[in-house]
């Protein structure tokens, strides 16, 4: 489990990472096209979006009842349901399952929740080797990197660097930098693991309450391998994965895939209702479903914050965010990045420890506009800021924000007295002439260096609008403001 720290340092570094930036530019431009092409294949795209939002809202509001229903149905299907209060509790139980069965290694499907709870480390510390099997996740695991993007965790890594790491770890026999050959090498490497696999671990995209069914979405086939080959399967889900019915799940699938990759449907979607049926010769003989809380029931107490639990992890908000498009996923410090990280991480790790995440947002609202789960990220971010300021004011009344209050007092005076306003504009213009360069003010001698450390101020223009307008009238022979073009 990691918490965000060093946001500014990493963001500054990443702004200078040309390779990441080339990719991010492609992502933010190309993705909008992919997504809208995908959504436009709905008969009524807005209805489809409204419906998915209503389903997620409903699912979160009824979460306790739905979870209970899911656990009962999954149990009736023959799955063993294990509950976990927190990361440690979840890891202990999964490690216990591996040790009881004496497995030497497990293969994993890409899963955010297992990253959140730090499962790989827990398994490795108890002597169980872990193979990530999603190609991107295999790369990040091999290179010891955090995920760069929710969907493509290693999509920014130059292939020659991947080749070097694979060569060093013996995945390939001679250095290579061809993306396809690198991928095929991983296929060959993991095929032997799948074939001899005794225990697999996957995440869960959706858990259907009415039928006790687990749904997984993927393109590579690694999750299908993990759900087919070993005799023991462990599916790990956080409590918010539950949806009411199969019909709801099918609609969410349509919306999820279109928002995630622009596909109508991902390559493989598997629906598991219990372990393998009678007489089946492959598929799991035993299926464990680990339902992880890890602070979500606490988040649930707050009716406003609760909406973060609607997230279906499609990644649309990352791909549309102008801040993510410049800094990528690393500054967010850990598992969740982009707007969904900026609203979820503060609730998981504490507002006071994650200030940079929700401060580094322009409140432009692009994420809210695309979100198929109906999350209002800008409103949450605004509330986090408010709560942080209020907490600070309580901790040190008077001291915090004294300069800000003084500045607001001056602003109030100017705004209510036109003469004062004009005088202020004139002096600001003078200050800009001295301090500005290239149309921006980047530093200030007035003790405001904190503000300028991460912002530039556009310089005040040489003339005000009114001055420009007057000059324009004079040039055109005194035609009044009412005299538009004829």
């Amino acid at each position: 489990m990691s918490s965000p720290s060093g946001f500014r340092e990493i963001a500054s570094r990443e702004l200078g990472n040309e390779y990441s930036r080339i990719f991010l530019k492609l992502l933010s431009e190309g993705f909008a096209i992919l997504r809208s092409a995908g959504m436009s294949t709905f008969e009524d795209p807005q209805e489809a979006l409204d419906r998915s939002r209503a389903i997620r809202r409903d699912a979160v509001e009824r979460m306790p009842e739905l979870l209970e229903e899911f656990a009962r149905a999954a149990g009736e299907n023959g799955a063993v349901v294990l509950w976990a209060r927190d990361a440690r509790h979840a890891c202990d139980q999964i490690v216990g399952l591996a040790r009881e069965r004496g497995v030497r290694f497990v293969a994993k499907g890409k899963s955010m929740i297992t990253e959140e709870i730090g499962l790989n480390r827990a398994l490795e510390e108890s002597g169980v080797e872990v193979f990530e099997t999603d190609l991107g996740e295999f790369v990040t695991q091999t290179m010891g990197l955090p995920p760069f993007h929710l969907v493509g965790p290693a999509i920014n890594i130059p292939p020659d660097k991947i080749g070097e790491a694979f060569f060093a770890k013996g995945v390939i026999r001679e250095p290579d930098s061809d993306p396809v050959r690198l991928g095929k090498a991983v296929r060959a490497h993991l095929r032997e693991k799948f074939r001899a696999l005794d225990m697999g671990v996957v995440g869960v995209n959706m858990a259907i309450a009415s039928t006790g069914t687990l749904v997984n979405v993927e393109n590579e086939g690694n999750i299908r391998m993990i759900k087919s080959s070993p005799r023991t399967l462990v599916a790990v889900m956080s409590i918010e994965k539950v949806v009411p019915t199969l019909e709801d799940a099918l609609h969410l699938l349509r919306v999820l895939c279109r928002n995630c990759t622009g596909q109508k449907m991902s390559g493989y979607v598997t629906f598991d209702s219990g372990p393998a049926g009678r007489g089946e010769k492959d598929g799991p003989e035993e299926l464990f479903v680990v339902i992880v809380d890890n602070k979500r029931s606490a988040i649930y107490q707050d009716p406003l914050a609760r909406q973060v639990l609607r997230c279906i992890r499609c990644g649309a908000c990352l791909n549309t965010c102008p801040v993510y498009a410049r800094i990528g996923g690393y500054p967010y410090g850990g598992v969740y990045s982009g707007p969904m990280g900026a609203v979820l991480s503060p609730l998981l790790h504490g507002i006071e420890r994650t200030s940079d995440l929700f401060r580094a947002c322009t409140l432009c609202g692009a994420c809210r506009q695309v979100c198929p789960a109906g999350i209002d990220h800008p409103e949450l971010i605004r509330v986090f800021r408010q709560r942080e300021v209020e907490a600070g004011a309580q901790a040190a009344p008077g001291a915090q924000g004294a300069a800000e209050r003084a500045a607001l007092g001056v602003l109030g005076l100017c705004a209510s007295h036109p003469a004062a306003w004009m005088a202020a504009v004139r002096s600001a213009r003078l200050a800009c002439a001295v301090l500005g360069e290239g149309g921006y003010v980047r530093k200030s001698p007035f003790g405001l260096s904190g503000w300028f450390s991460s912002r530039d101020l556009p310089a005040v223009a040489a003339r005000t609008f009114r001055e420009w307008w007057k000059g324009r009238d004079a040039a055109k022979g005194g035609r009044g403001p009412g005299g538009g073009p004829t």
Binding site: W83, R195, Q263, G267, R278, E280, K281
Partner: protein
């Protein structure tokens, strides 16, 4: 011990203040605009599946099915195939086809245990399986696994041939599930959607087929009645 954690978590959730009456979701979702007649569905399925890199064939009866398969295995140099002979594949005389083509065919019903299934699936050049349904809206196959139809065949083999009866071509996922539940009287184990071959774009967004699953997927829509072939098109 574990039941306690479950009770605690649910108790905490129940204690939380709830919003007012949540919006009810009414009616069925708008489907993705698929023509309801068979010709329209065949066209749509073929377009959608092709756009995902699937080769779609049509065959009328077992003989044409054999011809389609023969052409494909020859073109791809397939020598060893694992086959699940149930469902729509049963239209094919598998033994005779194997002799005629010289392809070594492992009948999956003879595989005794997990080890044997693994051995057959991981060493075959191709798998031949039935699919329970084909869904036109996205060119998707729906397969329910059971004692006759093993999961590993269609994911571990490098090429997958799926045969689906034309009567099992439906418009939407909802319809496929409704008919599947009726046919199987509920489902246990796994149901799988397959839309195109295995693929990835995880390194530098370069896409290629055949990451962990098959690099090739061929679907044969099978007319089982005596109707003239391609009459529906």
């Amino acid at each position: 011990m574990n039941g306690d954690a479950g009770r605690e978590i649910l108790e905490l959730l129940r204690r939380a203040p709830r919003a007012g009456p949540h919006r009810t979701i009414q009616g069925r979702p708008a489907s993705s605009g698929v023509e309801g007649d068979r010709a329209g569905m065949v066209l749509r399925f073929t377009e959608e599946a092709s756009s995902q890199g699937v080769t779609v064939h049509r065959a009328s009866g077992g003989q044409e099915l054999a011809q389609v398969l023969t052409a494909s295995v020859r073109a791809q140099g397939i020598r060893r195939m694992v086959a699940c002979a149930s469902g729509a594949v049963s239209a094919l005389d598998l033994g005779r086809w194997a002799v005629e083509t010289g392809v070594e065919v492992v009948d999956s019903s003879r595989l005794g245990d997990r080890g044997a299934v693994r051995e057959a699936a991981f060493t075959a050049d191709a798998a031949l399986t039935p699919a329970d349904f084909a869904v036109a809206e996205s060119g998707t196959l729906v397969m329910a696994f059971d004692s006759d139809h093993q999961r590993l065949l269609s994911v571990a083999a490098p090429a997958h041939f799926a045969v689906v009866a034309i009567d099992d071509l439906v418009m939407s996922y909802e319809e496929a599930f409704e008919r599947l539940l009726r046919r199987r009287k509920g489902f246990a184990g796994q149901v799988c959607f397959i839309t195109g071959p295995s693929s990835t774009s995880d390194i530098q967004a370069v896409q290629f087929k055949g990451m962990h699953g098959p690099a090739r997927l061929e679907v044969i829509l099978l007319d089982t009645c005596e109707r003239k072939p391609a009459g529906g098109l």
